[in-house]
């Protein structure tokens, strides 16, 4: 969490070093900390509360009763397995079609390269839900509404940006001199790609794949609009729980369960997300 990418924060600036504590920073961090952490903390407490009646500041009884109750529900397991199947399918398909394309955009020269690349960035230029409704209109005619593959397609489109522009940057940053050296030593193009280029780009590409997987797992709007009523993913199930206001703890336990993938993503990708290149992908 404390790792800062030097390129964003310009560490090489002449620094006026003083021993004075950074009060402004502490105040900002405290304010943001309260706003960001408190809502999540409340949910975490709810997940382990067996009895929590107003106006007690803390639950009267703690325990795991509702974990058992939540995990005993078949709809939770169905949603979990569906969400995992969807996320794996979408991420694999996305990697299959996007990574070669990213390599081509980064390293090959072909007619229309710039225009085609720019067209991916402009997919951000339309209000997303409006676009989903327009797609849903087409899917309705094709019979893709409320089907697994309809949701796969809509979520696949959502990963295109991430899986193209982050890997493009990764392939562009590969050290050309090393590739040349390998080629001079007699390695063929495929061998050079496999042994020299790919290992250098791999960590960034892995981060992009992980972000796509987690993003797809949490994707709600496409699944809700295209998938309803048959396809009930974890986030969709969560909305039903919120709307129907059944036992408070079910939602809390699900939230805590759903955090696990978030935290993994956070740990592996914070360096990428904190770097300037991530923001540049949004056009700054």
């Amino acid at each position: 969490m404390t790792a800062i990418d030097p390129s964003t924060l310009a560490a090489d600036v002449p620094v006026h070093r003083t021993k004075r504590p950074d009060w402004l920073g502490v105040a900002l961090a405290l304010a943001l900390g309260v706003v960001v952490v408190i809502p999540l903390l409340v949910v975490a407490i709810w997940a382990f509360a067996e009895v929590w009646r107003y106006p007690s500041l803390l639950p009267q009884e703690f325990g795991f009763r509702f974990w058992e109750a939540t995990l005993a529900r078949p709809d939770v397991w169905n949603a979990m397995s569906l969400s995992l199947r969807l996320s794996v399918t979408v991420t694999l398909l996305s990697a299959l079609i996007c990574l070669p394309a990213a390599y081509a955009f980064a390293r090959l020269d072909f007619p229309g390269r710039n225009v085609l690349f720019l067209s991916f960035l402009t997919s951000h230029a339309f209000p997303k839900f409006g676009l989903l409704v327009a797609i849903a209109g087409i899917f309705l005619n094709l019979g893709l509404i409320s089907t697994f593959w309809g949701v796969v397609l809509i979520q696949l489109v959502g990963t295109l940006m991430m899986m193209i522009w982050i890997p493009v940057a990764a392939f562009q940053n590969v050290d050309r001199a090393m590739e040349e050296a390998a080629r001079d030593a007699g390695a063929g193009p495929i061998r050079v790609f496999w042994s020299v280029s790919l290992p250098q780009a791999a960590p960034t590409i892995f981060a992009a794949v992980l972000l796509s997987f987690v993003g797809t797992f949490y994707e709600t709007e496409g699944a809700w609009l295209i998938g309803a009523p048959e396809i009930r993913t974890m986030p969709v199930l969560m909305i039903t729980y919120i709307n129907n206001q059944i036992v408070v703890q079910y939602g809390a336990v699900l939230s805590v369960l759903l955090w696990v993938p978030s935290f993994i993503a956070l740990m592996f990708t914070r360096r990428l997300v904190g770097s300037g290149s991530f923001a540049k992908g949004f056009g700054v």
Binding site: L40, N114, F117, A125, A134, I242, A252, S277, K280
Partner: protein, 297 residues
């Protein structure tokens, strides 16, 4: 990231070799480009055509009846106004919160900056469904905030849950990371030398902001603004879960028209109207991406 032109492979071989390469490149990008064409570009034109052309007994005819119906329906207009208002408030709040954060992150060198950056990025990893649930439990009726206020002997808050302020709080929370990141990236364009020089010349912080920093990040701020408007205008999950049922924001309105009222043509009309309203921001967004690419060449 976007400066493709600087890294192109140099044509060293003959025409035949470069033609072969061109074909390989096109082949490799064809699948995602086809998907983009089918599921982003085509639906936009399809939506416009679907709403404007109707099948009658005498054949196809041009009609704007759904648009007339939208703009003469008081409820639809109330939804549109609510959406515009929420979007404007969110954009203003986001700039007010994220600009100081970004300025601090750009110029601070203390260890606190690392913690702050982590905190500012954190909401990116919290899915909006969980956020919605957490906010209901925190600022909803008898939620966490009420518990604390009650323990302190203070009156309860007027809960923003199911009012327009519910989605506003959620959307601002959700958009803090990207807005901050984009602003920090924009502030990267401000040269440290200029700031140092002005500081040495005795410029106060406000003067520094007005004369050195703002002129250089104007474009970045407009990009951030466009991006925010585009993502908030048609937000669905947070307005659906946290917002009022009537009037509702455009996201839930479109969803209801499509899935419950089953009026596909009207839902698509609402989508086209939201495209049109966001077109200015979308066009600006695309133009500034293109301009940045030109500048980097």
């Amino acid at each position: 990231m976007t400066d493709l032109a600087s890294s192109g492979t140099r044509r060293t071989g003959g025409t035949a070799a470069s033609n072969g390469r061109g074909l390989t490149g096109l082949l490799l990008v064809s699948a995602p480009v086809a998907l983009l064409g089918w599921l982003i570009i085509y639906p936009i034109f399809n939506a416009i055509a679907r709403t404007l052309v109707v099948q009658t007994e005498t054949g196809t005819a041009f009609s704007v009846d759904t648009y007339v119906r939208f703009f003469s329906d008081g409820y639809a207009l109330a939804n549109l106004w609510l959406t515009l208002w929420v979007t404007a408030v969110c954009a203003a709040l986001l700039l007010a919160i994220c600009l100081p954060l970004a300025l601090y992150l750009r110029f601070a060198k203390s260890r606190v900056a690392g913690v702050l950056q982590g905190l500012a990025l954190f909401p990116m990893f919290v899915p909006s469904v969980i956020l919605a649930y957490a906010l209901i439990r925190t600022i909803g009726p008898n939620g966490g905030v009420d518990l604390v206020l009650n323990a302190l002997g203070l009156p309860k808050i007027n809960s923003p849950y199911l009012t327009p302020w519910g989605p506003i709080i959620g959307l601002v929370w959700d958009n803090i990371p990207l807005t901050t990141l984009m602003l920090v990236a924009g502030l990267g364009a401000v040269s440290d030398n200029a700031v140092e020089a002005a500081r040495d010349a005795g410029a106060r912080p406000l003067a520094l902001l007005r004369h050195i920093i703002f002129p250089q990040i104007g474009n970045a701020m407009l990009v951030v603004l466009s991006f925010t408007v585009l993502s908030i205008f048609s937000a669905f999950t947070l307005p659906y879960v946290l917002g009022p049922a009537s009037p509702e924001m455009m996201g839930p309105f479109m969803q209801r028209t499509f899935s419950q009222v089953m009026d596909t043509r009207m839902a698509v009309t609402q989508a086209v109207i939201s495209f049109l309203i966001c077109a200015v921001f979308g066009a600006f967004y695309v133009r500034s991406i293109a301009k940045n690419r030109e500048a980097r060449r």
